[in-house]
């Protein structure tokens, strides 16, 4: 228990959690107030407009991704503990927390998105963040999920497999391409981060 407390504090989890909640509530309020004030999003406006849910999840994942890097990587590595399962658990738990926050905000009323949509997107995005952490370091991990969301919101409604992969985040739940993309991202991201850990980066 003591280890968990110290670990979560060293990885800024309380602040990340607060940011996730604020982002989810904020996007929920925006989606309710100005439903569809945004321009041509992938599937138009309406109660089920996925862009607000996607943005809320991206914000949550971006906040959570900050904790993927440690305070001192060299010090972390000297610890005689098995990092691989802990790192994998960190990624998966973070995805679960982001999804849980979104699901909890949904109970305020006004369906933001379906459960399957939220679970799929938060898992895929968190996998992407873990991939980013393994490739560029914890401080840079948020760039990958944020960029993919941005591209998904920018491109026109998808018509073929490459564009469906690009816009997987916004596709309705049950679309095979989107589910497989999310699964692949989750699996590769979690595996890469668990095995390699966050990339060390000398302070410039």
């Amino acid at each position: 228990m003591r280890w968990l407390t110290l670990y979560s504090r060293s990885r800024q989890m309380p602040a990340s959690f607060a940011a996730t909640v604020i982002a989810a509530v904020g996007m929920w309020a925006l989606g309710r107030g100005g439903g569809g004030s945004g321009a041509a999003s992938a599937s138009g406006s309406g109660p089920g407009d996925p862009q607000f849910a996607a943005l809320a999840l991206t914000a949550g994942v971006a906040a959570a991704s900050v904790g993927l890097g440690g305070q001192d990587l060299a010090l972390d590595r000297t610890a005689a503990i098995r990092w691989v399962p802990r790192r994998a658990a960190h990624v998966l738990l973070a995805a679960a927390v982001v999804a849980a926050v979104a699901l909890a905000v949904r109970t305020l009323g006004d369906e933001m998105a379906g459960t399957e949509f939220i679970v799929r997107d938060s898992a895929g995005l968190m996998g992407l963040a873990a991939l980013g952490a393994a490739a560029c370091g914890g401080a840079y991990a948020w760039t990958l999920p944020v960029l993919w969301t941005a591209v998904g919101l920018f491109v026109p409604p998808p018509t073929n497999t490459p564009t469906r992969v690009a816009a997987w985040l916004l596709l309705p739940p049950g679309t095979p391409t989107a589910t497989w993309t999310a699964l692949t991202l989750t699996a590769t991201g979690t595996a890469a981060y668990a095995l390699a850990g966050p990339r060390g980066r000398h302070v410039a």
Partner: protein
């Protein structure tokens, strides 16, 4: 000394990354993902204004990204915990800030310029309308990127938490994305107040190639972005709490001035480029200055089509061929004229055709101008194009479908053939009367369509 510091910053800061990410992401999106930016008449490498507007519209996500990268850079002093050491040097803090801001501005401008060079080389090769009216659009885009980076650095230094960069990026992205302007209406119209929307540096995607941004927009956005950049720089250089508070002043001043200058009406935001829309003629065939390169290919078949039309319709035939310049909403009925055949190069039947095929398409368009618009975004209607097939066949004597549109040629033939056979069996005077009725119905675009005027045409 300064040069050496700048060289080190160029290698060790986030500057090279920011400068590389901008063109790499932009080009990856423009080339790898098929979208409206790759469609013929509005393609990003087709015209200078389209190039400037498309690259600027990418700021929807490039601008927040650069802001976040700037914030990452701004965290450096906090991470390296050398603030106290720096206060002990006699060099003023703004010297360091200026070197850092200068290098990141340099790489961002170089990156964005590279993007423009890649696109511009193709624009030059393609025979576009040459002008410099697009430059302010891209200059504001470059200024927006610099302002984002400097503001990000300032905010990162003021709020040194690892959460700052992602929070800033996501907040900026929500801002630019929710304030996106829909390109569906004739004049791109935002849902939020226009002045507020113009504070976002991104612009609408290109649908009407003749539209450009008006001068007050450039001026207002420049003032606003200069205010943002000044605030960012002041935050980056500020050493005291009072300095940080004073740093808010430029952005407030910039936004007040910008709101005074920016137009409140979308119609004064996106305006028709009158120089590009001016007509250039060869005989009786006229196109806009923008599409002058297409005039030569259009003139021959156009003149022939006009002669044939005169023979077919007599005094009521259109006397000229002119490119349509009217702005219209998506899916709205195109402009009509009794005296001119109006062409739109976005219509694949005309835009992609050459020689004999083009003459046939122009005959169809002259006798039965399409009511449902055809472009890369709009499919048109089967009955419109079948009416054009038959009208052109009446003049030329043989039935051939018009290729290049969303309507499949084989299905056009299948639909047109029975009508054509019954039509051919009519006496010549009756044929002529039917074609007159088709012409009138097509010009009116009423409930009774052009094809309904032909025997068996109304069956479906």
């Amino acid at each position: 000394m300064n040069g050496r510091v700048a060289r080190i910053e160029l290698r060790r800061s986030v500057a090279p990354w920011a400068g590389a990410l901008v063109p790499v992401f932009a080009l990856a999106l423009l080339y790898l993902i098929p979208g409206p930016w790759a469609w013929d008449t509005v393609r990003w490498t087709e015209q200078w204004t389209s190039l400037a507007m498309w690259t600027r519209s990418l700021l929807v996500f490039l601008w927040p990204l650069v802001l976040g990268l700037g914030a990452l850079q701004g965290l450096r002093d906090h991470r390296s915990a050398m603030g106290e050491l720096l206060t002990s040097t006699p060099r003023p803090a703004w010297h360091r800030a200026a070197t850092l801001a200068g290098t990141i501005a340099l790489t961002l401008v170089a990156g964005f310029a590279l993007l423009l060079v890649v696109g511009g080389a193709q624009v030059l090769a393609g025979g576009a309308y040459q002008h410099l009216g697009w430059l302010p659009i891209s200059l504001v885009a470059a200024l927006a990127l610099i302002a984002a980076a400097v503001l990000g650095m300032g905010l990162g230094r003021t709020l040194p938490s690892p959460l700052t960069p992602p929070a800033l990026t996501v907040a900026a992205f929500v801002f630019t994305n929710l304030l996106r302007t829909a390109e569906g209406p004739a004049i791109p119209s935002p849902a939020a107040p226009n002045r507020l929307v113009l504070l976002s540096p991104a612009v609408s995607q290109v649908r009407e190639v003749l539209l450009t941004l008006s001068a007050p927009v450039h001026l207002g956005q420049t003032l606003w972005l200069l205010g943002l950049a000044a605030t960012g720089f002041a935050l980056l250089a500020a050493a005291t709490r009072r300095g940080r508070l004073l740093a808010v002043a430029p952005v407030l001043a910039g936004s007040v001035l910008a709101l005074l200058v920016l137009p409140s009406d979308p119609r004064r935001t996106y305006v028709v480029d009158t120089a590009a829309a001016a007509m250039v003629c060869e005989g009786r065939v006229c196109v806009t200055k923008l599409h002058e390169a297409r005039l030569h290919d259009l003139a021959g078949p156009g003149e022939k089509a006009l002669r044939l039309l005169h023979g077919a319709l007599g005094a009521r035939a259109p006397v000229e061929i002119r490119e349509s310049t009217g702005l219209r909403d998506l899916l709205d009925t195109p402009e009509r004229s009794r005296t001119a055949v109006l062409v739109d190069f976005g219509d694949g039947a005309i835009g992609k055709a050459k020689g004999e095929e083009l003459t046939r398409a122009l005959l169809g368009q002259g006798l039965a101008p399409a009511c449902a618009p055809r472009s890369e975004r709009e499919g048109g209607s089967m009955s419109d194009i079948v009416a054009q097939d038959i009208a052109a066949a009446w003049v030329l004597g043989d039935l051939k479908p018009l290729p290049g549109t969303a309507q499949d040629p084989d299905r056009q033939t299948a639909r047109a053939l029975p009508v054509w056979k019954r039509f051919r069996a009519l006496p010549p005077a009756e044929q002529r009367a039917r074609i007159d009725a088709v012409h009138e119905a097509a010009l009116a675009c009423g409930d009774s369509g052009a094809l309904d005027q032909l025997p068996g045409g109304a069956s479906r």
